[in-house]
């Protein structure tokens, strides 16, 4: 029994340490009978494939970015067509392939775009019913003061719920608990500053900018 246990543990460790699939380990052990288990899909060895085994993560193309902004915020960046060539869009006459490079030019322009779009949407949200809001759909008016725009009063649970919704909407990836706590901690002083400046739209507008300039938004 000890021998079986030892061999099993070795199998488990060897699989990870050698970065190979179980299917590549045939003939080295007396394996447990797995005939009833569904067939396993063979994967290429990353070491023989320049580290590849799946999709290459990449930056959104300009066309995808334009669509993403529209779908995510319901608004559009007014300069995206003017800046398309600088952002990497090919015209197929002089430039024959789209650039997916996440360079500083792209980051700088996208930040400009995020500021424009997010603050525009946040201002519009101030006048919308809760169900129609883009940036704080999970916060009831009653939770944000008498005018519904004092986000310093919003309970942590609602902030986290809203951040979770936004992260799904912007990134397709709900935040983990730890990240939710961190972002909630970040949100609170921003909401306080927005209140002092009497610009309540900046509270969730800032979160929107942060999410739109996050690598999880611009890559996939």
């Amino acid at each position: 029994m000890k021998r079986i246990f030892l061999l099993s543990v070795m199998t488990f460790l060897a699989a990870c340490s050698s970065k190979k699939t179980v299917a590549d380990q045939t003939g080295t052990l007396e394996p447990v009978d797995m005939s009833a288990h569904p067939p396993m899909v063979r994967l290429p060895d990353p070491e023989n494939n320049a580290g590849h085994v799946g999709r290459a993560p990449r930056r959104l193309t300009v066309a995808q970015l334009k669509q993403s902004i529209a779908v995510t915020t319901g608004s559009q960046w007014s300069q995206i067509d003017n800046l398309a060539a600088s952002l990497g869009q090919a015209d197929f006459a002089l430039t024959v392939s789209d650039s997916n490079e996440a360079n500083l030019v792209f980051a700088k322009f996208l930040e400009d775009g995020a500021r424009e779009v997010c603050l525009k949407v946040a201002v519009a949200d101030l006048g919308r019913a809760q169900s129609a809001r883009v940036l704080w759909p999970d916060i009831a008016n009653t939770e944000a003061g008498t005018k519904g725009n004092d986000f310093t009063l919003v309970p942590d649970a609602s902030i986290k719920k809203n951040l979770s919704t936004l992260s799904l909407r912007f990134w397709g990836q709900p935040m983990s608990d730890g990240e939710l706590t961190a972002w909630t901690t970040t949100f609170k002083p921003i909401a306080a500053r927005a209140k002092v400046a009497n610009k309540p739209e900046q509270a969730w507008g800032a979160m929107c900018i942060a999410m739109m300039t996050d690598p999880r938004f611009i890559t996939y």
């Binding site: 699939t21 288990h37 994967l43 990353p46 999709r55 779908v71 197929f92 996939y220």
Partner: protein
């Protein structure tokens, strides 16, 4: 203890099972498959070009998985077809905006002056009127040319409005400021009044220079006398210091007393008379140093005028509709019409273009769009993907329909209509939408569209693009070989398929390029065998007699010999030069034959699989992946009638797509 052992054995089995499952489904020590929401976003961005909405995320979260039917549903959306068009735009590099040459020489523009006639204002004005940008006289009707006189001293008592064939003659004249220094004579109302008065620079208009007084229009369109003398500040005219007098002692020309080779020897005073080139009647040219303007006529509106007016004012030269010069019978259907005073823009100004350039841009956009529409139709109808390379079907909108049917702007757009006029759908110029139609038998999918032919302007570039886009092969010499030194005699071989150093690639490129041998280079013309036979005896006779231009009608034929093959090919269609008997069927079969050959190799299928893989995974297949996936994906693609949607579905379903590097 036995119970502990039994439990331990279960635990051991569980560890092995879990480790195996984990390795297969979740992790290969660093590379992880993505979560459901992230994968949904990835699929949406790859398949329809946008991320999911919140509702779409929630829907899939509720289902717990992305199923094949979800992917099929996505591939039925308009967004998918739009994404696929974008993919093929990149594959075909479908943008001819820098491939077609036009400086606006055929554009009809108007000015706010006088009758506001349409006319040329660019380079074409130079041979017709004497100066680039010069318009006609917008204040005189051509056929009433004697009702007003701009320069009584320069014009005859009775002006000739048209010559014997009806070609419009000049109705007014001005000295050209490129040669003359013309200054306003202050305080004078006309040229008779101006004699003895100073101009703006203090020159007094002498009586002997009365023919050099020019009534010119100021910015407010009023006529004022100007004193014009050869410009002393310009090298060409500064030496014209000798005055030639007529019997009355009036200066009629300035000449150079010591002309040297290349200098201007003489400038005669301006009149309304035109020069006749080489004494050939009908070949008019403008007097040097003069701007000779014809008048205005009212004519049918140009084809691009959709306002519904019955007539529009147009410069009399441009308003003509002849197909040939009435004296020399030279054709007006080539770029020479722009310099031939007797041609004009044709019926409804078909040879000319809209002045704003909007229509030109619309034509470019339509040509770019045509192959994408063709591909869209194949994919939308779930047809064999490679139909895009062979089908005769295509699509046409108003801009293209009218261009093909009416032969519009045919000196800029050197495009052979894809089928006869009657078989071309008659779509009004401004009508929205596209109509499907069938092109003539030689058509071969996207490979014979103007977009392809203009974008890849030579036979060699067409081969190169075909190999790159559809066979995933690229031409480059074998590694480690060196080009022979320049002094090596093998460099003198004219046939690139044989020339040392070049033959590595051109032994393939040249015979393959012959598939486009019946398509012109730097244009989109089909060289119909009925009009362009393999051997043209007239071109051969011209070539043998040393007339290599043959009245500009043998541009597609071998007219000069640089070697023995060239000497044997004089008078042959150029594409036949250096082609062997085995390769000549390529010319006859066209691109369609090339596609048929390549289908037999399987390269087209493998490349299509590789291209879609690259598009979805963002990188090419690795060697291991080719072993794992390429064969099965290609076989599946073939078995499913080369259905592109099924191929996309297959690749989306691979383990590789589910994981992220």
């Amino acid at each position: 203890m036995p119970e502990l052992r039994r439990n331990l054995s279960w635990l051991t089995a569980l560890i092995v099972l879990v480790s195996a499952t984990t390795l297969a489904d979740e992790q290969v020590c660093g590379q992880a498959s993505v979560n459901l929401e992230r994968r949904l976003r990835q699929v949406y961005l790859d398949v329809i070009g946008r991320p999911p909405t919140l509702e779409e995320y929630r829907f899939i979260q509720g289902k717990g998985a992305i199923l094949p039917e979800d992917l099929r549903e996505l591939m039925g959306r308009e967004e998918f077809y739009s994404k696929i068009k974008g993919y093929h735009r990149a594959l075909l590099r479908a943008n001819i905006s820098t491939s077609i040459y036009s400086e606006g020489e055929t554009r009809l523009v108007t000015t706010g002056a006088g009758l506001q006639p349409l006319g040329f204002r660019g380079l074409s004005s130079s041979p017709l009127r004497g100066q680039i940008g010069a318009g006609c006289d917008a204040f005189v009707m051509q056929d009433d040319c004697n009702t007003s006189r701009q320069d009584p001293l320069l014009e005859p008592t009775t002006k000739t409005c048209r010559d014997s064939a009806g070609v419009p003659m000049p109705v007014s004249v001005d000295y050209n400021s490129n040669n003359y220094d013309c200054q306003l004579v202050t305080g004078a109302t006309d040229c008779t009044d101006a004699i003895g008065k100073p101009d703006a620079t203090g020159r007094v208009l002498a009586a002997k220079h009365q023919f050099y007084c020019d009534m010119r229009r100021l910015a407010d369109n009023t006529l004022k006398p100007h004193y014009c003398l050869p410009d002393a500040a310009k090298p060409q005219t500064a030496a014209l210091t000798t005055e030639e007098l007529d019997a009355n002692g009036k200066v009629i020309a300035f000449s150079n007393p010591a002309p040297v080779n290349g200098s201007l020897p003489r400038l005669a005073r301006c009149t309304l008379s035109l020069n006749v080139d080489n004494g050939i009647k009908g070949r008019y040219s403008v007097q040097q140093g003069c701007i000779q303007r014809e008048g205005v006529v009212l004519t049918a509106p140009p084809y691009f005028d959709v306002s519904g007016v019955a007539t529009v004012p147009m410069c009399a030269i441009e308003a003509q509709v002849r197909d040939v010069n009435p004296f020399t019978m030279e054709s007006c259907e080539s770029t020479r019409f722009r310099g031939d005073r007797s041609c004009g823009c044709g019926v409804n100004s078909r040879r000319c273009d809209q002045g704003s350039g909007v229509l030109f841009s619309q034509r470019i956009a339509a040509v770019n769009e045509e192959p994408l529409r063709l591909i869209d139709s194949v994919i939308r109808r779930d047809e064999d993907y490679f139909t895009i390379l062979t089908t005769r079907r295509s699509f046409i909108n108003g801009v293209l329909s009218q261009m093909y049917r009416e032969n519009q702007n045919n000196t800029v757009w050197l495009v052979t209509p894809p089928t006869s006029r009657d078989a071309t759908p008659n779509v009004p110029l401004t009508a929205p939408g596209w109509a499907e139609y069938t092109r003539d038998a030689q058509a071969s999918g996207v490979l014979t569209t103007p977009a392809w032919l203009y974008r890849f302007p030579t036979q060699r570039s067409r081969v190169n693009q075909f190999y790159g886009a559809f066979l995933c092969k690229h031409f480059s010499p074998p590694s480690g070989v060196d080009a022979p030194p320049p002094e090596d005699s093998c460099n003198r071989e004219n046939n690139l398929a044989k020339r040392c150093g070049c033959s590595y690639c051109h032994a393939t490129i040249e015979p393959t390029g012959a598939h486009w041998g019946r398509y012109g280079e730097r244009n989109a013309q089909y060289l119909d065998p009925a009009k362009f036979p393999k051997i043209d005896t007239r071109c051969r006779d011209c070539a043998l007699s040393g007339d290599t231009t043959c009245n500009n009608e043998c541009g597609n034929y071998v007219m000069q010999a640089y070697d023995g093959d060239g000497a044997n090919s004089l008078g042959e269609l150029r594409t036949y030069l250096y082609r062997t008997a085995d390769e000549e069927p390529n010319i006859v079969g066209g691109p369609k034959l090339l596609v048929q050959k390549m289908m037999q190799t399987g390269d087209l299928e493998r490349c299509a699989v590789g291209n879609i893989w690259n598009e979805l995974l963002g990188r090419p297949m690795t060697a291991d992946e080719q072993t794992l996936y390429l064969k099965s994906l290609t076989e599946s693609f073939t078995a499913k009638n080369h259905n592109l949607k099924e191929l996309i579905l297959d690749i989306l379903s691979t383990e590789a797509y589910r994981r992220i590097d």
